[in-house]
Subunit: 504 residues, 2 copies
């Protein structure tokens, strides 16, 4: 539709607002474009700058905030349009988004085809969906659970809308943990062991969204993890393995967008979980996958039965994509390792790799179990020999040397930072440590500043079953500022059930 | 959870951003509160000022936009907290919203009880839901359609979370149109006729959301429609009827919030439509209701069958709430009346009431049919006599006099404004007018400035079946600014199928 252009031209102004994947534009209610186009707050409008265009959510503002001919943009909008301060942009009604009618068709009771998922996910990746629309899509796929065929279609669409890696090796191994256990930082150790034994393990990991640290956050204190696909290929070609941040590689970018909204809605459905996990593995070119599923009273998965039920779907879909997958259940009743927070977890990883006397044995054992499972699954080790083979590579220093070389290939091995402010939490009584609340200890680490403050977090001094005397330190809280330390301690004081001590 | 308060205190700053029912708060990413609480963009956080508190969606900003200790607020947040510039507010983690677990339970396959709907709707009305969460709730109720029992629960909850009106009369009549037909402004005429015949008709109407005018917009050019419940009662006590804006009275406030998100998602499901329509009628104290359901190729309802199918649900639920309801289908193949836009529609209404020679007969007839149905349904007229009784009241001036008195009771009768800029659309050829596109003619009126510019819109000069000669004016576009006039005309030029002319 043609219309007098002068009404639509505006000067772009960067407002420096972080709206994640959402693009926001702010305009005066009384601006010519809002009046002539009949724009209202919450409208989705088309913004064009040069040959780029995006769809953004409009919020109308009063005089004072912006000039009549100014359009204020959120960071996402600004970046996608590639603007410089004062650049001219053109605002118009956005053409109806075809793929939204597909979302509606699922709401109205129809299943979605592969092509439908491809259209929807492509629009989401291109930022054409508002968070409100993504919320509707996610809820529509959760309320009437996705059929197996639809999960395949969604997974495929998430793979196809991102980068994919391929390797000249018949066997490419990968590992995924369902998470929920603080400190469970086995990945760097496993990659080092596996690569030192000649297998290909191009690992991409995520940053924390709701946890005190993701593998990418912990590895980042040791080396550079923000690798593009080309650099990642180079590292893997040279060392057989890497530990990169998935977001930098661009595998299944839809997952990063969807998962934020799923977390905001606190929605956790099987179909979306399967597509989320496997789309990343498929795009990474994995042929063999081990799933780490710790279970326990305060873990994400509460029982071994629940663990298997949850993984049945993954196993079926992984099979359809020809990924040989094995589930390894394990103890999730308490954190794994001592440190909770990027630098403290990295320290534990280094201690295990270096065979330090005070290396956390539970972290070492968990890594060996998972690495062993991968060695057997891939045929590198005979059934029953995997763990021994992994232990050998760890104990004779091959794994440590490999880790060192991988970090150098990624940009050099760094020393983890140490925190400026610390305070211990002391046992309020004598007794036996009978429970640690995974969720609350994670929250404590986050309140102390993790993962943004790399050195912040919690360092555990006790394990379940330990006998403690009154006043003995249960853990030490690490922070970068006194305020955050106070704040974390205040939370601990208010939550005496983080640690449960019962009579001996 | 207690924590050092100094970290949480911020100076409030009004940003003048219109976010509808959504409350937004903007804070520096590097502010003490964001760091200590671990806030991230999109987090829902609790804001307290004095004894008031709200939940708002956080968006983090960079230096330059706000000071470290400043919290910028959207208009909704500002109003709900009742702030003055520079007031101190406190920001904390918001406690988990209990009712969201009920929304999730429906997503996970459970039906919602009356109590569940009450909890959800109460939180929505109190502004505790983000638009993302409302989107999820609406989609969850649409993807697995609401059971009849749930529709009753939702409707009841929407009534109970708003004001309710009661009248000392056994019979209180009301009318609702499913809409979709431009210019269909029968309500003011019907209220005048009905009240002049001694029945009670306390009518609340809506403003336009996507149309060029709602009844409240059209009536507003003639008199004050923003009445509170007390004023409305006074007017009805005196005159037996009124035409008020529903939003001012506070009946079913949830509906106004939900409907915006439904429109944004372009979702239109039966259960929500029923709850939306009936919650307002129940709260208004209606005992007898006539539903106006025009159908036609470009109407909201495409056929008479569709009309009945759509209304079956309403009739059943209305029965459960003891509202005697009748559906009146009718011709929706073209706009009703001549004017499209607040002032132009108000002019048509006055012409019909005054029996002006050029009063649009279709509007007159439609009003008489609906008024007649109400008279018969309520027992005021014998079967078959309703329309005659209504016509008599209209023709002998009783209805006009009643309308005059109602407007005076609401604050005085005003003259509709007239537009500054006009241009006719001319017939491109000879022939017979065979179709008018309701949606496109409505869009044309909106582009000309309706409903914000009261005098803007479209004035039709032809009806279906009319023979037109080349160059004859089909309609006149009215606007308040030359730019908007140009813009509407450009749309008309680009959409030659607004009017269809075929050979005689």
């Amino acid at each position: 539709m043609s219309a007098p252009g002068h009404l639509h031209r505006m000067r772009a102004r960067r407002l420096g607002i972080d709206t994640h994947s959402d693009a926001f534009v702010f305009m005066r209610k009384d601006s010519p474009v809002c009046r002539s186009e009949g724009f209202a707050s919450h409208n989705r409008i088309l913004l064009c700058a040069g040959d780029r265009h995006i769809i953004a959510t409009l919020y109308q503002v009063e005089a004072g905030f912006l000039a009549l001919d100014e359009a204020g943009l959120s960071d996402t909008a600004w970046r996608r349009l590639g603007l410089k301060q004062g650049d001219e942009i053109v605002a118009r009604h956005s053409p109806p988004l075809e793929s939204l009618s597909l979302v509606r068709s699922r709401i109205y009771g129809h299943d979605l085809s592969d092509a439908a998922f491809r259209a929807i996910i492509a629009d989401i990746v291109d930022g054409r969906y508002s968070t409100i629309e993504i919320s509707s899509f996610i809820t529509a796929c959760a309320t009437r659970p996705l059929k197996r065929r639809e999960v395949l279609g969604l997974t495929r669409a998430m793979v196809e809308t991102g980068k994919s890696l391929s390797w000249d090796s018949a066997i490419v191994v990968d590992k995924h943990s369902v998470g929920g256990i603080p400190g469970n930082r086995t990945t760097p150790i496993i990659v080092a062991i596996i690569a030192s034994l000649g297998l290909i393990m191009p690992k991409t990991s995520s940053r924390a969204i709701t946890s005190p640290a993701g593998t990418a956050d912990a590895m980042e204190v040791l080396t550079n993890v923000d690798l593009d696909a080309a650099t990642m290929r180079k590292v893997v070609a040279r060392e057989g393995g890497c530990i990169a941040w998935g977001g930098g590689v661009g595998l299944s970018p839809a997952d990063d967008i969807l998962i934020r909204v799923e977390r905001a809605l606190d929605l956790d459905t099987e179909g979306q979980m399967i597509a989320s996990v496997l789309s990343k593995k498929i795009a990474a070119g994995a042929t063999h996958l081990v799933l780490d599923v710790p279970f326990g009273p305060s873990a994400k998965v509460r029982s071994e039965e629940a663990a298997h039920h949850m993984t049945d779907g993954i196993l079926a879909v992984a099979k359809a994509f020809h990924i040989k997958t094995e589930v390894v259940c394990g103890d999730g009743s308490q954190p794994i390792g001592r440190g909770i927070g990027p630098a403290l977890e990295a320290r534990d990883v280094m201690n295990v790799l270096q065979g330090a006397p005070d290396a956390p044995q539970d972290l070492r054992m968990r890594a060996l179990t998972l690495a062993g499972a991968l060695l057997e699954l891939s045929g590198r080790a005979a059934q029953g020999d995997g763990e021994t083979m992994a232990a050998a590579a760890l104990d004779d220093g091959r794994a440590r040397a490999k880790f060192q070389r991988i970090c150098e290939a990624q940009g050099g091995l760094r020393k983890p930072p140490v925190s400026k402010h610390r305070r211990p939490l002391e046992a309020p009584r004598h007794g036996v440590l009978s429970a640690i609340d995974n969720r609350k200890i994670a929250r404590l680490a986050k309140l102390a500043g993790a993962p943004d403050d790399k050195a912040a977090g919690v360092d555990l001094h006790v394990r379940l079953g330990d006998t403690v005397v009154r006043g003995a330190p249960l853990c030490t809280v690490h922070a970068e500022s006194p305020g955050e330390l106070d704040y974390a301690i205040a939370y601990a004081d208010a939550n005496s059930d983080i640690f449960q001590i019962t009579d001996t």
